[in-house]
């Protein structure tokens, strides 16, 4: 979690350099939201919370259910942690966060079991395992425990949306290639030979590896472009 905090610092600097014109409070909130969704995406940039990312993304529906559950847990625990931050003693803060998170996960677990038993069965033990998703604990430690309730909730919303987006991207790719279907709808017709490997465990590693590669390529291109632009502006024409 120490490296998470460093990342937060660099993103603060980045935020100061480019600001859209908006009222201050609103623009801060907006920046916190976008940060989680794209620039500091918990999965593609920070590489946190990997276990659920790979384990349940063999279909888009499972990915969405898992993302939704994580979304609920992250937002509610961020809210509670930042509301209680004045009363949590420093020495036992991590245990306190974990117990708060575990409470919300238990709630989610029972709710899913009652509402959508089929999906609950497929996700199996991975719903309780949200407790140990390092992304959630990381947000409490790095952000919610230091900021106002409003900012903490916005940050949690952003991070959770980023997580949901990543899960969905991975689940979509794996379902389309592995079964030739998307949300259970056949896409390629009967001649398509599904890449079974994609829905098996190795496919998860490979897909995420390639997606990370793609993201770092995009980032590299963007930097090169910015450099060239700066060069062009510097030269007298």
């Amino acid at each position: 979690m120490s490296f998470d905090r460093n990342r937060l610092k660099t993103s603060d600097n980045a935020r100061a350099s480019r600001r859209p014109i908006m009222p201050k409070a609103q623009q801060d909130a907006y920046q916190e939201f976008i940060k989680g969704l794209w620039r500091d995406n918990p999965v593609f940039v920070q590489v946190l919370g990997m276990c659920p990312i790979l384990a349940v993304t063999n279909s888009a529906v499972n990915a969405l259910a898992m993302g939704g559950a994580t979304f609920f847990v992250l937002v509610t625990s961020s809210f509670l942690v930042s509301s209680l931050k004045r009363w949590i003693p420093r020495q036992v803060r991590i245990s306190t966060y974990v117990i708060i998170i575990a409470t919300f996960v238990t709630v989610t677990d029972f709710a899913l079991q009652a509402l959508v038993p089929q999906i609950h069965k497929e996700l199996g033990a991975f719903i309780p395992l949200i407790v140990v998703n390092c992304m959630i604990l990381g947000r409490q430690e790095a952000f919610a425990s230091k900021n106002s309730v409003r900012l903490a909730v916005v940050d949690a919303l952003g991070m959770a949306s980023g997580f949901l987006f990543a899960l969905f991207a991975l689940g979509g790719v794996r379902e389309i290639l592995g079964e030739g279907r998307f949300f259970g709808i056949d896409l390629f017709g009967p001649e398509f030979e599904p890449w079974v490997i994609m829905i098996l465990p190795p496919g998860g590693f490979l897909t995420l590896g390639l997606l990370l590669l793609f993201f770092s390529w995009v980032k590299e291109r963007k930097e090169q472009l910015a450099e060239r632009l700066a060069d062009m502006q510097g030269e007298p024409s």
Partner: protein
């Protein structure tokens, strides 16, 4: 007896926690830079797993029958205190190792493999002996995956890999290939 052997081999190779259940990926990707460190972290994890399995069995048999909704919270509290204990022990016995493991030692608490182990063995209804064997197999399987990965990564440091590819992307693809190799073990016991 053959049942116990089956549970052990299954947890060790066929349903390897890291490579087929995707549990414990954070240390798997984070600490696997050096062979020596990863081996010792693996052993610490085995120890925590064994204690967790023991406590989980005790909690399941005597307490959680009366209050099943406390399962998650009580498991995580047990794991956190065990890890705290190990941390103090390692700090005392080998400060060097303590430094090498760094942040990943307290993070054993959030290693999903350990909570996963407690939940899986509860779901499967294992007794004490079965649970302990399962924990041993899973822990050794975790260590095996970690050590294999560390070896491969040490080699890949020297290989001429494109710059963009370096880091997590490459590690994930290596893990994918390793996982594919482990799928071969699935045929190991089908004949028996």
């Amino acid at each position: 007896m053959s049942n116990l052997v089956w549970i052990f081999v299954s947890a060790l190779l066929i349903n390897n926690f890291v490579l087929s259940y995707f549990l414990g990926l954070c240390p798997f990707l984070g600490v696997s830079g050096k062979l020596e460190t990863s081996f010792r972290l693996g052993l610490a994890t085995v120890f925590v797993m064994l204690i967790t399995a023991l406590c989980a069995w005790f909690l399941n048999t005597y307490i959680l029958i009366h209050a099943p909704y406390l399962r998650l919270i009580s498991f995580i509290v047990v794991i956190a205190s065990t890890v705290q204990f190990i941390e103090m022990l390692i700090k005392r016995l080998s400060p060097h190792l303590f430094k090498a493991l760094g942040i990943f030692l307290p993070l054993i608490t959030t290693n999903c493999a350990i909570l996963g182990l407690a939940i899986f063995s509860t779901n499967k209804g294992y007794g004490l002996a079965q649970g302990m064997i399962y924990a041993l197999g899973a822990g050794l399987g975790f260590t095996l995956a970690l050590v294999l990965m560390a070896g491969l990564r040490e080699e890949s440091e020297l290989a001429p890999v494109p710059r963009l590819m370096r880091g997590t992307a490459l590690n994930l693809i290596i893990a994918g290939i390793l996982s594919m190799a482990f799928m071969g073990f699935a045929g190991l016991f089908s004949a028996a």
